[in-house]
Symmetry: C2
Subunit: 897 residues, 2 copies
């Protein structure tokens, strides 16, 4: 379809060589598609004016091409002429003239780049006021206080924003004027006091700028526009663009719009509204309105706020008109809109519209409603794309009630989402006891260890002073979906109390925490309920339809209980079953230690045999829960010293009171297996090499469990995963152990059992050598936690607490790479690993099982890398299902471009 | 030049479709260039016969193409016909016939692949003997013992090698025969006993193979050749080829050669010789000769060995002929040759020639002599390529005298090359005291720390039980060129003694160690002197000429003394000056600790100011020694806990006796800075971010030192290096500190000072993001130690001792990647880093400063990666200069291909 597009050159498709566009200019295409030229705000105003025909105060946009021309070669002569023309049209339409001494036109000047951006100059209101026009406003409004207040504010705003004068210089005069008048709010100042203030502000401007305050509105306007253009290159804006990867050459637009006055009289007013209820999603408009007021009066508190529904009897015509406008906007934008409007002497003016913020529950309800609404006709894909991970977190976990005022006591790492309230206890035993007598409990520890798990289970939430996002506390809490804040570095945990600065928390004190935000509050904060709305399941089902065949979602689950929680939430299998947790049970640890301490082959084999028995039972339970779905079992990974008592504690005990024989043996073993850098030490398949038979035992336990499931009529689907591979011969060797153990088990049972063998890719070398390694692997699973640690040289335990905050604050890193997968470094290794792996093994299946598997931004990156599935904590499954669908949709959009 | 080449098809250049080539066949090209067809041994025999016209017993080669045809399709019919023809020609020439019962021809059959290869079938001698021909040999030689001994040996050899019969079955009969005869050597057996033995051997063969021992020489020959061909696919040979990357399709050749008998009579004999002295390189032939003996009699000890010079009066004609042969061989091969020859009844037969092994001193002398010898006319490039790093180690460091028999007490890691002898002391103080009273000392420690350096300095060499190749002991010893063996895992160091198994080493016991081989010997081993021959400097000068403009060699040196040692040895600058060693002096450590413990800004700045003073003085001294050469100074790198007392020791002391106030403060700091994985912790530029002003202080100290040098008329060339970079903004920030400090210093001095700013690339991420990072860097220096640790996930401290040995033994890794740069993983990151870095900064200078900078194999890989210079320990400089030249030569050869 060919159509004239006056804003765009018909041949080249490039913007025409003009700089100024009225809001109602015939743009030829939908103005919202011209954001690059008109900026976001300009496009929005033009869309409302020229496409929707809504009542918007007239005005015009100086395009980003004007800004670019200005920044390159200085103020273009043609721009002055175009602005003159645009002003003339505006004056004619409004029947008022800029700077007129009878009925002056006032305008706002606002910046509006393609992307919203901190550090840019924002808004100058009431431009056009000067010593003459302010008197005309007094005449026409009969409100001298309002007129001089507006003038004073304009001068200060102009001085501050356009002329870059220190705001405190104006504030000082304001404070003195208020002291002199004996009032505590600006609105308490009289007309005379405001007039006096305007004079003083003018003197400040003249003193600081070395020239008179510009009385000529055209000069005011040009200077304001120049200031907007120049602010594009301000340090903060540049830094922001650097960080966000936004092109420095885009430039910003500027918008000039006639002022309308909601504070003109009792038939005027101003309001903000949502086209639906942003709290619960009900399809009923929702908002506030103030009679005889301007937007900024909300802050000043000079008028009374009324609910939007009051409009029905206050201004019934406006109310009717607004209802039509709302329907129009929703049908046009296909979304709930957040509106600003003004009524001037009974006439409605729309000032702004944009997609409205909403709660998680509202987002879900609206998304489903709008798909079913024939007037809006949202597609399922669009509905999916409107829901964020934060929305789901809100409906899946309790949150602090938004009505509760919060005083944050301390901040830490947001380790496990959701809010919790309870009484503080400082050891597991007290926590359990208190919980048994019916108290809600928050467990507060310096850090947690396996000894604390009973207390964690009894608690509503967990707070620790030390540890990062993969500390014991964080991992366990996430696994149980229990809110947790960890690494609260200024929290000092003592015996039966804790301290943050001067504040002491005693046992039994009420404490609240928000594990989504990472904050701890002293006292009992009210929680918002978290019953997930019915629409959640609908959205997730749609999400599953979209991602089916593209991106799977599995869970990291180590026990049958974890597996059940994961399957309930829609997991399509287990992507990571860590067998080490099976070694840590109180009745098992002694056997594991016996295996480590074994003096001879017989002791060693005996310990392995006992471990086999218990592991087999564990596997049977997990395979039963996950029947007919894949279960990826990782063979033992952690360094052996994790199964031994703490070396430091043993040494201190030895120094203090001596050790018995068993302890002496344990000390020797702890010393032998102690490592300088356990992250880079003897673990993963390296253990398999050093401890012959260990992996074979685990494989036997697993395959025998699968055989028992087969005999019971089940459908076990086993995938065996070798951790920490660095070379092809290493994986070939480990594969041979698995196959040998498999043949041994097969010889004992009748039914043939299929299983696959793969490896974790978690060292940079494994990613680089993936082509060789893939020849021995049926699947890869990227361990992005460890891969991130090795790629950055970041030990989470050591750098997250001390380093991450200053690094993020100073822009040395864009994100915490443990939260969001590093797209440049780590993801490049993932991409390399996948393409090299598939180059030699085209049928290679690829998953990831680091913490990134539950992070929406990371899921998008990983899907782009080519993974077949992500695996995450059971409680992140809904978020991952949604994010996976969004990644698939984004991929299709990318592809069709 | 067009020339007919009967072995190679004139059109296709492929070998002709024939399988058998007489040694004197007109090959058309030099046979040595046909190794792929004839195998190494066949080519060598053909070269001596047909090119050099030397007296070689006649024979023929069955080519590798014959082997390939056999392995693919079975024994080719054409091959039988060709062999028949070749045998006929051989019989005609020798005037003897195979299996003849009057004057039988005997032959040897030997394998000979293109590359020599363990696991291949080797040699069958005396083939052609059978029940008839053995009698003819008795007749002709008159020596029945010899004839039956030969026959028995042939049967056993044939059974063992061709028919794969267990050797012990033959040995058992031999043992019984010797017991029966009451003799202790085989040569003591009578003719009858040997004849009996031959019968028994034949019975073994018949029993084991289930058929008669083949009497027909043509059958013997075919079976021997088939055995050779089949052994190509033996498990050991395959594994070897896998490891070495040799194509499995090459196949091997087989050589059939007429036997000659040095044990025929008193005018016969056999000898081995070198054309020059392999010990010192003197241009005088050197060897051993035995009258009336065969090669294998050397082992049996039945004849007396005489020096080669005895030939002059024993067999003056042979001696003259040999002299001519030697000259001919040297002129032809351009190298010292290692010869086997036999004299049969006064006639000389050459059996083999190959390049001879030589000592380091001999290698150097020969290389220089041969360049100056008009008959040989070696090029300098060829001379350079003949010297190995081991040759240089031999002449640069003392070695165990080769005449000393050694009983190795324990093995460890070869941490610093050279041999040392002294009395064992187990603490630094005793070592210093003993050294002062004139004793030679070996310091034996569990591991060393900065407290041990005085003892290390006093010692001849160092042995430690723990630690890897970058442990404190290893790094310090290498830095001083002092022999060291570290990580001797079965060494248990106690107070004033040590223990290896049941052997106890007491204080004052003599101990010897070889740090090149990594062995420890109880007792006083004689050392070979290490005065470097005069030719060393000549060779190194030639090496420098070759690598000039291609690959520089710098030193890792932290002190003026190190720098002087490095410059003496030809370093062209300092590639890595670690500033942390400057912090560890006994008078400085308290100031460093004051800086770490500082409670307020003033204390902190005061400590920095005091450090500045001492660092500046250090830098002045280093810049003076390295005047006019570049000095790359790395800003502080290690984690701060390295400057604090050991946490474990403090905790034990606290438990035992309590701590004073200072110790309590130190304990708190040690706890705070303690890290789970220091390798991945807060160090490098991360410290710079956390400790404001620290790097600026170091830069000021350095640039002020440079200014002082300028004022003194010096030419300081400063390069400032930021460690452990992970992102471009991080390096940009660090660069800004350097520039700011530079401007501050510049403002205080008149002379302008140029310096460059670069970074270490030691995290995988830095290599991957090198394009961004290079925009803020004048140079990169790859820290291949840390890059290896992070790429493999290998903490040297933890995996070298426990893991490396089993990994190498099982072929899971080809090399210890800390010895030889990992060409697949780590080197790929180096290649990526360099190409990406230069893509945005084409003038980027690139060096490497890990331990690999002193390893010849790694230097070759790194030159291929595109580095501009390598930097290594001062004592490795000569090796690096040579290896760099060899890398450049190899690169040119590669390029011209």
């Amino acid at each position: 379809m060919s159509r004239t597009n006056p804003a765009v050159d018909a041949v080249s498709g490039e913007p025409q060589r003009r700089f100024v566009y009225d809001f109602d200019h015939d743009h030829g295409v939908e103005p919202m598609t011209l954001k690059a030229l008109l900026g976001g705000k300009g496009a929005n105003l033009a869309e409302m004016t020229s496409v929707l025909g809504l009542p918007v105060p007239h005005g015009f946009t100086i395009s980003t091409s004007g800004c670019r021309a200005y920044l390159r070669h200085g103020w273009p002569v043609a721009l002055d002429l175009e602005i003159d023309d645009a002003i003339a049209r505006l004056e004619a339409r409004m029947g008022r003239r800029l700077g007129d001494d009878v009925d002056p036109l006032l305008v706002s000047v606002r910046s509006g780049a393609q992307f919203s951006m901190p550090g840019m100059m924002d808004t100058v209101l009431n431009l056009g006021l000067n010593d003459a026009s302010v008197k005309a406003i007094v005449e026409r409004t009969g409100d001298a206080r309002f007129a001089y207040d507006s003038y004073a504010r304009f001068i200060a705003m102009y001085g501050r924003i356009v002329l870059d004068i220190d705001a405190t210089l104006f504030d000082e005069h304001l404070r003195r004027a208020m002291d002199a008048a004996g009032v505590v709010t600006e609105s308490g100042l009289s007309a005379e006091a405001n007039a006096e203030l305007a004079l003083r502000y003018r003197a400040v401007v003249e003193e600081q700028s070395g020239r008179p305050f510009p009385q000529e509105p055209r000069v005011q306007m040009r200077e304001a526009i120049e200031a907007i253009f120049s602010s594009w290159n301000g340090a903060r804006a540049r830094a922001f663009r650097d960080r966000e990867g936004i092109d420095h050459d885009l430039g910003t637009a500027a918008n000039v719009q006639a002022m309308v006055f909601g504070n003109r009289d009792a038939s005027s007013g101003t309001g903000v509204a949502f086209t639906r209820n942003p709290s619960n999603g009900e399809p009923v408009a929702f908002g506030d309105f103030m009679v005889n007021a301007q937007g900024e009066d909300v802050v000043a508190g000079t008028s009374i706020t009324r609910p939007l529904s009051d409009l029905d009897y206050l201004f019934p015509d406006v109310a009717n008109q607004l209802r039509q406008v709302f329907a129009r906007l929703e049908a046009h934008f296909g979304d709930m809109c957040d509106i600003e409007f003004t009524v001037e002497q009974g006439r409605l003016w729309m000032l702004q519209t944009r997609p409205g913020m909403r709660t998680g529950a509202a987002a879900l309800r609206m998304a489903v409603d709008m798909v079913n609404d024939p007037a809006i006709h949202l597609t399922r894909a669009e509905a999916i794309s409107r829901i964020t991970g934060d929305h789901l977190d809100q409906v899946l976990h309790p949150t602090f009630s938004s009505s509760s005022p919060l005083t944050v006591l301390a901040r830490g790492l947001a380790a496990s989402p959701g809010a919790a309230v309870g009484r503080a206890y400082f050891d597991a035993e007290s926590a359990v006891t208190a919980s048994k007598r019916g108290e809600r409990v928050i467990l507060v520890r310096a850090e947690t260890s396996p000894d604390d798990v009973a207390g964690m289970l009894a608690a509503q939430g967990v707070v620790t002073a030390r540890g990062g996002l993969v500390s014991h506390a964080a991992v366990v809490a996430r696994g149980w979906g229990k809110p947790a804040v960890v690494g609260v570095s200024n929290l000092l945990v003592e015996v039966n109390s804790a301290r943050v600065g001067d504040v002491v928390i005693h046992e039994g004190d009420w404490l609240s925490l928000d594990g989504t935000a990472g904050i701890v509050v002293l006292g009992e904060v009210e929680l918002a309920s978290s019953a997930a709305p019915a629409q959640l399941e609908v959205i997730l089902r749609w999400a599953d339809e979209i991602r089916a065949g593209h991106l799977g979602v599995r869970a990291n689950a180590d026990t049958a209980a974890d597996a059940a929680a994961a399957r309930d939430r829609g997991a399509e299998g287990i992507g990571l079953c860590r067998t080490e947790h099976m070694f840590l049970g109180p009745e098992r640890l002694p056997v594991v230690r016996a295996m480590i301490l074994a003096d001879n082959d017989e002791e060693y084999r005996d310990a392995l045999e006992r471990l086999l028995e218990v592991q087999r039972a564990d596997f049977v339970a997990i395979l039963e829960v996950m029947d007919a779905l894949p279960v990826t079992v990782r063979l033992l990974d952690p360094p052996l010293h994790e199964f031994l008592p703490d070396l430091e504690a043993l040494l201190i005990k030895e120094a203090k009171e001596g050790l018995n024989d068993d302890e002496t043996r344990l000390l020797a073993a702890a010393r032998y297996w102690h490592e300088q850098n356990p992250m880079l030490g003897v673990r993963g398949v390296r253990l398999g090499v050093l401890k012959p038979g260990l992996y074979a035992m685990q494989v036997r336990a697993l395959l025998e469990a699968a055989q028992l499931r087969l005999e019971a009529g089940g459908d076990p689907r086993v995938e065996i995963m070798i951790p920490l591979t660095i070379s092809a011969p290493e994986l070939a060797l480990a594969r041979s152990w698995v196959i040998e153990a498999g043949e041994y088990v097969a010889s004992k049972y009748l039914a043939p059992l299929q299983f696959s063998i793969g490896t974790m890719i978690e060292t940079p070398r494994a990613a680089l050598l993936a082509n060789e390694i893939a020849t021995h692997a049926d699947f890869f699973s990227f361990g992005t936690n460890d891969l991130t640690q090795m790629t950055f040289g970041f030990s989470r335990d050591d750098v997250e607490g001390k380093l991450m905050a200053p690094y993020l604050a100073q822009g040395l890193l864009e994100h915490n790479p443990f939260d969001v997968l590093d797209d440049q470094g780590v993801a490049e290794l993932v991409r390399l690993g996948i393409s090299r792996g598939r180059s030699t093994n085209p049928r290679l299946k690829v998953g990831i099982c680091g913490e990134h598997g539950g992070d929406p931004a990371s899921i998008a990156i990983l899907y782009g890398c080519g993974v077949d599935y992500v695996s995450c904590s059971p409680y992140r499954i809904p978020v991952a299902r949604l994010a996976a669908a969004q990644a698939v949709l984004a991929g299709k959009a990318e592809h069709s471009r």
